[in-house]
Amino acid sequence: MKIKLVTFGIAKEIIGAPECNLEVKVPCNIGDLKQILMTQYQEFKKLQSIKFAINENYQEDHFLLHEGDEVVIIPPVSGG
C-alpha cells in the first residue's frame, strides 16, 4: 500500500523533500515504518530519537497504518 510521508527539520534534510510517497507491505505499523526508514536513510539512525504523528497526534510503534495515511516524521523537537 502507499502512504504519504511529511517531514520537518532535519528529517526534511535527510529525506531531501518536505513530503514523499512510500510503498510499504501490509500490515505495516509505525515500528515497521521506523525500521524501513532507518534502512533506507542511514542518517535517521544517528538521531537522538524519532517519533511519528498521524492526524496531528503522536502515535506509538504498534499503531497500524492504512492505505493513504499521512505520516509526519517528528525528529527531536527544540522549540522554546
Partner: protein
Amino acid sequence: MRDIQILETPLNTQSCHDAVADPAAGGIVVFVGVVRNQTKSRKVVQLVFESYVPMALKEIDKIADTLYQKWGILHVSIHHRIGVLEIGEIPVIIAVSTPHRQAAFEACQYAIDTLKKTVPIWKKEIFENGTVWVSAHP
C-alpha cells in the same frame, strides 16, 4: 482566557502579560525565551524556527489543559515565533496568572519545560561556518 499563538512576527511581553491580567489574580509569572549569542561557546549568527503548526497548537493546548487542571490557573498566554530570528529576539513567551503566586511559578515552569519536550517546533542554529538542528543528535 487561553491565548495560544504561533506567529511569524516579533513577540511582545506586554501583550502576553495583558492577556492574563485579572483582578482575581494575585500573581502573574512570565517566562521570556531569548535567542542567545552563543551555544557551547560557538558564536550563533541567526536562528531559524520551523514548526508543524496545526500539531504544535494542539500540543500547546494540551499543556494549557494541564495548567488549568493541575494548578488551577486563571489564564494562560503562550506565543511562539517561527521563521528567522536574530540574536536577542524572543522565540517564546509564556504568561500565567493564578490566585496565589507559587502556583504561577510552578505552572509557568512546567509549561516551558514541557513545550521544549513535546511541541513540534525545530530550531536550527546558523553559525558563521555551518548550521545545526538543535538537539537532533545525541
